[in-house]
């Protein structure tokens, strides 16, 4: 069964550093998403991406965040200058055009900012 993959599984970085979280969505999917989940809290929507542009973004997704689909397979989330409060699990998800309501989530990247 095809699946969404994410790398790295765990990233530790120092405050102020830039990080890039990588995702490989399912190959024929057209809708892509990033979410985050702070430990013990709910899943929070960050951004959705379709047709090479952002469809929607939340208030969390401010200027320090950016997304990119640099090639036909990867989907990345960049955090420019990390803060302690960015420590969370980051999930990538993708959905097909035919079943766009059914999002497939990756295993997540645990980001720890020290």
């Amino acid at each position: 069964e095809p699946e969404v993959t994410q790398t790295p599984s765990h990233q530790v970085t120092q405050m102020g550093q830039e990080v890039i979280l990588r995702c490989v969505p399912i190959s024929n999917h057209l809708y892509f998403y990033w979410y985050r989940q702070i430990l013990g809290q709910k899943v929070e929507f960050l951004v959705s991406f379709y047709n090479n542009e952002i469809s929607e973004k939340s208030e969390i997704f401010d200027d320090q965040f950016s997304v990119e689909r640099p090639d036909g397979s990867n989907f990345t989330l960049k955090i420019r200058s990390t803060k302690l409060e960015d420590s969370a699990m980051y999930f990538c998800a993708s959905a097909s055009a035919g079943s766009s309501y059914e999002q497939y989530f990756g295993p997540g990247t645990r980001l720890t900012v020290t």
């Binding site: 979410y35 929507f45 959705s48 939340s58 999930f91 497939y104 989530f105 990756g106």
Partner: protein, 111 residues
């Protein structure tokens, strides 16, 4: 976006049927109801989606009354491995839109 209300937690025993109800009083005409499951340290997993009446798949059933102001996820004969958080989401049935997860219902299945 319609606000959803679910019980914070539920307990059950193996082999029982579990029903989790979600309230969404201000659901819009174009909104669908979707349920996800999340195990610890994993991403959410799609369970089922519906618009009205009843939907059933190999995992669960979803009951939606005529006024659509609530919905009930039914898990038949739960096992220990069904212990997870279950999220009810309400929103437009197309991709690319904001997907808002609530606090979810933490289901604990006991032996």
């Amino acid at each position: 976006l319609a606000k959803t209300t679910q019980p914070i937690s539920m307990d059950s025993y193996e082999g029982q049927e579990v029903n989790i109800t979600c309230s969404h009083n201000n659901i819009a005409t174009n909104d669908y109801i979707t349920w996800y499951q999340q195990f610890p340290s994993q991403g959410p997993r799609f369970i089922i989606q519906g618009y009205k009446t009843k939907v059933t798949n190999e995992v669960a059933s979803l009951f939606i009354p005529a006024d659509r102001k609530s919905s009930t996820l039914s898990l038949p004969r739960v096992s220990l491995s069904d212990t997870a958080v279950y999220y009810c989401l309400v929103g437009i049935n197309t991709g690319g839109f904001k997907t808002i997860f609530g606090a979810g219902t933490r289901l604990f299945v006991k032996a």
